[in-house]
């Protein structure tokens, strides 16, 4: 059994209008997605802006009211508030946010910020608590004198590490990391990613790693899901996605990653323009009448793509040929 099983998750935001302010339409932010996160792995969720990544992440931690579908954790559907309470779900599942400044209460000292989940879930004495906080700070590489400072006194990278410390304080099983490094500079980004990896190694935590930076995702994740307009278009292992992308959208995303290899930037660019061209021409082949992705069909044990069955089979054949 996987750690978390997400089945056909839908989150629709109502659009109200008309005379009585009734719900007349909805934004289908997440529109039927399913995937599983295994214990100890980093699961990547990639997609362009507005594709529903954050909404998915928030649903998993229980910040979002979901429209339908289920999220199973330890055999229970935690989309129900009661189950979440019963399982002490937020003891086990925590979140790291994109904007490190806004995710730390600017009026609280670091000690209180990190201790917040501890105070809610574990009843420790003052000293025990302080010791824990110090140890956590130590683990994320911050000095003990951070204890009584305020978030604005830290740099972005340090703040993000404080966020990590808070997230791991209760020794959770899963951490949702919603674009944890997008707002950071390169050198700082490296720090944070290193710490996330270190902590995963040491505590055996799983991550749901949300990002639109394919370079970072490749560095962090074993399994990756590509999201587009509220649906998944492709899931697979790192190798599947990066080396054998099938869906045109995935290909397009990959082609758009800027390369640091200056020597063949001309080719790279030509390649990208070619992919763009294909994308424009073949778009309707990859999406249904409403412009939505098709349901996923497996093309290998680890690799599924959102394509009509026939097309998928054809591709499998081609792939097979290629592989062979």
């Amino acid at each position: 059994m996987s750690l978390v099983e997400i089945k056909n998750l839908k989150v629709h935001y109502p659009i109200r209008s008309g005379f009585w302010n009734r719900i007349t339409d909805s934004v289908k932010a997440v529109d039927g997605i399913s995937f599983n996160i295994e214990a100890g792995e980093t699961y990547g969720l990639v997609g362009e802006s507005g594709s529903g990544k954050s909404t998915t992440g928030k649903s998993v931690v229980g910040l979002e009211k979901i429209t339908s579908g289920s999220i199973m954790y330890q055999g229970k559907d935690i989309t129900k508030k009661n189950n979440r309470k019963e399982l002490d779900y937020n003891h086990d599942v925590q979140m790291i946010f994109q904007d490190s400044l806004s995710s730390l209460n600017p009026r609280k000292r670091i000690e209180d910020i990190i201790a917040e989940p501890l105070r809610n879930f574990e009843h420790l004495s003052k000293d025990e608590e302080k010791l824990r906080v110090l140890q956590l700070l130590d683990i994320v590489g911050l000095d003990p004198d951070a204890l009584y400072k305020y978030p604005h006194q830290f740099s972005g990278g340090q703040r993000q590490r404080i966020g990590v410390a808070r997230a791991v304080a209760t020794n959770p099983k899963l951490i949702i990391a919603d674009e944890p490094v997008s707002a950071l500079d390169l050198s700082v980004q490296a720090q944070v990613l290193n710490f996330m990896k270190k902590i995963q190694r040491e505590f055996g935590i799983s991550y749901l790693f949300i990002s639109h930076d394919l370079g970072v995702v490749r560095h962090m994740c074993n399994n990756i899901a590509i999201m587009n307009r509220g649906r998944l278009v492709e899931i697979g292992t790192r190798d599947d996605i990066y080396n054998h992308p099938v869906h045109i959208y995935t290909k397009r995303l990959l082609a758009a990653i800027p390369e640091t290899n200056v020597n063949d930037r001309k080719e790279h660019r030509a390649n990208r323009l070619a992919v763009e061209e294909i994308y424009r021409q073949q778009q309707d082949k990859y999406y249904d009448k409403d412009g939505k992705a098709f349901p996923l069909v497996p093309i290998s044990p680890t690799h599924s793509v959102a394509l009509p069955k026939e097309v998928a089979e054809q591709i499998i054949k081609q792939e097979g040929e290629v592989k062979a």
């Binding site: 362009e48 390169l186 050198s187 490296a190 758009a256 640091t260 200056v262 990208r272």
Partner: protein
């Protein structure tokens, strides 16, 4: 470069901000040359003074809050000596600027068309009709599919990518010789980023403009720029062609940056981390190598007292000579990080 050095020459420019009554240099002793027909990228971490440099060139600083010295020669005029009216002849007409945040950079209450044609009002003698046609033309040029409709819309009705294109349209409306693009793609998705960069390049090719592209994304630089200046803490620490910078980086800072990027093949290794932090304006060391505190294993005597730019091959300059003895700690092995 000596052939076109009469285009834009930035000489020894200093910009200081007033903080609590005292002035602190945000950029110090910047020397740069931009040529026609090239894209000069300026890279560096947040807060290193990239935007300050851009706004200094554009003359957008409030004189009562800033102190600027040096010389900015643009096509034979020293911009820093101009008064407001004189500057306005350049801004928009000869120099266009593209801002980072496409939402707030557009007036929320004006239609796109009005915002674009406003530039032309002050720099051309076009009639209303001509302006209208030019607006549609421009929107098409920056890759907007339905220019008529977009021209009539308000900024909030557009997506981020579209807004950024509108900003570009404004910047190029009068066919400027120089375009300054301050992080034009940071707020955007990779796919849109690629498109925007394409547009920029296309424009440059068509107008033979010089472009200053400010970014902190090394990938963008590698894909787009012809020449690169790396900034650290208000100074330029390395300058050279794209190939020089990416293939044979010299300055420890440049090398560290490149090394901290996630690479295709280092999934299971830790990324390289630069120690310490960028000093804040008020705590900026005024003498010595500003990067020195972050590479403590390089001995003090390896740093110059007052580091200057050294040309180490044609077109490739590096600040400070410490690059000669720099190597990463894990490669040195003996030095403990």
């Amino acid at each position: 470069m000596e052939t076109t050095s009469d285009f834009l020459n930035i000489k020894d420019v200093n910009t200081a901000f007033k903080i609590n009554g005292k002035y602190y240099d945000a950029i110090s002793h910047i020397n740069l040359t931009v040529h026609h027909d090239e894209i000069l990228a300026i890279v560096g971490e947040s807060g290193c003074g990239k935007s300050t440099l851009a706004t200094t060139i554009m003359g957008l600083h409030d004189p009562s809050e800033t102190k600027i010295s040096g010389e900015i020669d643009f096509e034979g005029t020293d911009l820093l000596k101009l008064d407001e009216a004189g500057y306005n002849k350049f801004r928009g007409a000869k120099i266009g600027m593209i801002f980072q945040d496409p939402l707030s950079a557009l007036n929320p209450l004006k239609r796109i068309e009005d915002q674009i044609s406003e530039v032309m009002t002050y720099h051309t003698k076009l009639t209303a009709e001509q302006k209208h046609n030019r607006v549609l033309e421009l929107l098409k040029e920056v890759g907007i599919v339905d220019p008529k409709r977009t021209a009539h819309q308000f900024p909030h009705q557009l997506s981020g990518g579209m807004r950024q294109r509108v900003i570009i349209a404004i910047a190029i409306a009068c066919k400027p010789d120089l375009i300054i693009a301050d992080e034009p793609t940071t707020a955007l998705d990779v796919t849109i980023q690629a498109q925007i960069l394409d547009v920029l390049r296309k424009i440059q090719a068509e107008n033979h403009a010089g472009i200053i592209l400010i970014t902190h994304d090394l990938g963008v630089v590698a894909e787009t720029a012809d020449r690169v200046a790396v900034m650290y803490a208000g100074q330029i620490v390395e300058e050279g062609s794209v190939e020089q910078i990416f293939n044979t980086p010299k300055h420890p800072y440049t090398r560290s940056l490149l090394r901290s990027m996630p690479q295709r093949d280092n999934q299971n290794d830790d990324l390289y981390v630069i120690q310490g932090n960028v000093p804040s304006l008020q705590k900026m060391p005024q003498i010595g190598d500003r990067f020195a505190p972050r590479i403590p294993w390089v001995k003090p005597e390896e740093h110059e007292k007052n580091p200057t730019m050294h040309e180490i091959e044609p077109g490739h300059e590096v600040r400070c000579t410490c690059y000669k003895s720099f190597s990463f700690p894990d490669q040195v092995g003996s030095v403990k990080a």
